[in-house]
């Protein structure tokens, strides 16, 4: 029971971007993934990337309204990593035989479908922001991501006053929204 509570606390921590929780997840499970990837044609860097993706998938899973974790975090992370690594190998045309693995895993196909939609929405916003160019990108990131005030942003970017910065932010925001909605389809 105690272990279960700990797992719940970890997931809650991950959802709240608590670095202690993230650290615990890395410390408890990364070695397992490292071995799995390296035993299946991958490198340490591949393991790092796959684990990172799996952490994000777990984070997205926790965010879902229908969230229930029916197995241990360990099993879930491993299952996602296995799924992702298999996909990666297939993309590289390297996959030929069943993967060698000693851990038990569950089917994550259903979850991955939902998570991939989240990935897609994230990618659209990321692309839109990145194609804005500077200073628009940093200005909007400062305001919407880092929650900085207009006054602070004005002095950071060298605008003479907050109104000018606000004006610029407005123009940037219009461009971003245009870029974003050009690709984002409601309801899909």
């Amino acid at each position: 029971m105690k272990a279960e509570l700990n797992e719940q606390a970890l997931l809650k921590g991950l959802a709240q971007n608590d670095s202690k929780a993230v650290e615990t997840l890395y410390k408890s499970h990364f070695t397992m993934i490292q071995h799995f990837v390296e035993n299946n044609n991958g490198s340490f860097d591949d393991a790092r990337d796959i684990f990172q993706e799996a952490m994000i998938a777990l984070y997205e899973k926790v965010q879902l309204d229908s969230f229930v974790l029916t197995c241990q975090i360990k099993t879930y992370l491993f299952s996602i990593c296995k799924h992702l690594w298999l996909k990666r190998l297939q993309q590289m045309g390297k996959y030929s035989s069943p993967l060698s693995a000693h851990e038990e895993s569950i089917s994550v196909e259903m979850d991955m479908g939902q998570i991939e939609k989240k990935d897609a929405a994230f990618a659209i916003m990321d692309r839109a922001l990145n194609s804005l160019g500077e200073p628009c990108k940093s200005l909007l990131e400062g305001y919407y991501l880092n929650k900085k005030g207009m006054q602070e942003l004005a002095s950071q970017f060298g605008y003479t006053n907050a109104d000018n910065a606000k004006n610029q932010k407005y123009k940037c925001l219009m461009r971003l929204k245009k870029l974003f909605f050009a690709q984002y389809n409601i309801g899909d």
């Binding site: 991950l14 971007n17 670095s19 993230v22 650290e23 890395y26 410390k27 990364f30 070695t31 490292q34 071995h35 390296e38 035993n39 044609n41 991958g42 490198s43 340490f44 790092r48 684990f51 990172q52 952490m55 994000i56 984070y59 997205e60 965010q63 590289m92 045309g93 390297k94 989240k118 929405a121 994230f122 916003m125 990321d126 919407y144 991501l145 606000k166 004006n167 407005y170 925001l173 929204k177 974003f180 909605f181 984002y184 409601i186």
Partner: protein, 370 residues
């Protein structure tokens, strides 16, 4: 100005920052104006997405930060250090696709930096120049130490063969002809490894020590001939200051590495007119790597690095490649080889990322053995 205020109000409305009175007023406006109502709905969707994006972005950031901190603190043993015998085979299986001996370059870089291992070319001023092929003595030593493991790994290097040297190379004819440096091929046999990690058998066709160029041919049933090569071999001398880039295999894990720099002199070491001086961070293993200009034309082949000045390297001019191809005609053994050098550069208009993605398919890591 009005639009700004409107959007600002919408944002405050959505974030619950309006007073009750303002909020009621705004609700009335929403009901009356379909346009404004639409703007509110749209902006809500956008802000929701932005919020989701921001949260996830922060998690990605935390995750990366935590990982690098733990790695720096030695939480996970890097591959080379994890030398428990039981794990060795597991670790080696990683290299199945690469080449067994690649791993034995492991200890090389440390020694390289302290310049204990230096490969001197007799035709050049040896004390000042350092050839960029991967060091040999170290490879040999490591190989002996790990010899029993090497036999366990499938590789196209013949059994009992000793890896002598290595570097980079690139295709100049779709039939499988590869140009590299002559000093990269110190052994009498060679294999090449493509950017996907696939090993292919190759034969050494021609080696020109003076110009430090050599020609290999892939002879392997697994070789898939590409339709066309996306870079032309430049027949003219390139301009001073021209922006250049390279792709090579300087690392022991056989990952392709991109480097950028500029052409710093139209002649090479001590005025050598057959090469350029280039400013690029050249590492060992870059020997034989191609130099492209910003149009994607091939203008040279990296060859040696001046010992003392970091970042300074030399590249054999592309015109020398043409000379090599012409020289084949004069030799009884090679006169029937018909190499068609690529004449068109097709990657010019792409972004650098797309360009590299395409170019890497034509780049090879070269290993020579005895």
């Amino acid at each position: 100005m009005e639009d700004i205020q409107l959007l600002e109000t919408i944002e405050k409305y959505l974030l619950g920052e309006l007073s009750d009175q303002e909020r009621t007023q705004f609700d009335v406006i929403r009901q009356k104006s379909a346009d404004i109502d639409q703007m509110v709905v749209e902006h809500k969707l956008f802000l929701d997405q932005m919020g989701t994006y921001a949260k996830r972005k922060n998690v990605v950031h935390t995750s990366q930060h935590v990982f690098s901190t733990l790695l720096a603190n030695g939480e996970w043993a890097p591959i080379e250090a994890a030398a428990e015998p039981a794990k060795v085979l597991q670790l080696w299986s990683k290299y199945k696709k690469v080449i067994a001996i690649a791993a034995s370059f492991g200890g090389f870089f440390a020694i390289f930096t302290s310049i204990i291992v230096m490969y001197l070319s007799p035709s050049l001023n040896g004390s000042q120049l350092l050839q960029l092929s991967k060091a040999v003595e170290v490879i040999k030593k490591d190989q002996q130490a790990q010899g029993h493991i090497l036999n366990e790994v499938k590789t196209k290097v013949p059994e009992n063969a000793k890896l002598i040297s290595g570097g980079s190379g690139f295709l100049i004819d779709t039939k499988g002809y590869i140009i590299t440096n002559a000093h990269v091929l110190k052994g009498n046999g060679a294999i090449v490894i493509n950017s996907k990690g696939q090993e292919l058998n190759a034969t050494i066709i021609y080696s020109d020590i003076t110009n430090d160029l050599a020609l290999l041919k892939i002879e392997d049933k697994d070789y898939k001939q590409p339709k066309a090569i996306p870079y032309a071999i430049r027949r003219k001398i390139s301009d001073l200051g021209e922006e250049i880039f390279t792709l090579g295999f300087p690392r022991n894990d056989n990952d392709i590495v991109y480097g950028k720099g500029y052409l710093s002199a139209q002649t090479g070491y001590e005025g050598d007119s057959s090469s350029y001086q280039i400013q690029i961070s050249a590492n060992p293993g870059y020997s034989g790597a191609p130099i492209f200009n910003s149009n994607g034309e091939l203008i040279g082949v990296i060859s040696t690095r001046q010992k003392l000045a970091e970042g300074v390297a030399f590249a054999v001019k592309s015109t020398e490649i043409i000379d090599v191809v012409n020289a084949l005609k004069d030799n009884e053994r090679t006169k029937d080889i018909n190499i068609k050098l690529p004449k068109f550069t097709s990657s010019a208009s792409r972004s650098r990322k797309a360009q590299l993605d395409n170019l890497k398919n034509f780049m090879y890591s070269v290993r020579s053995f005895n």
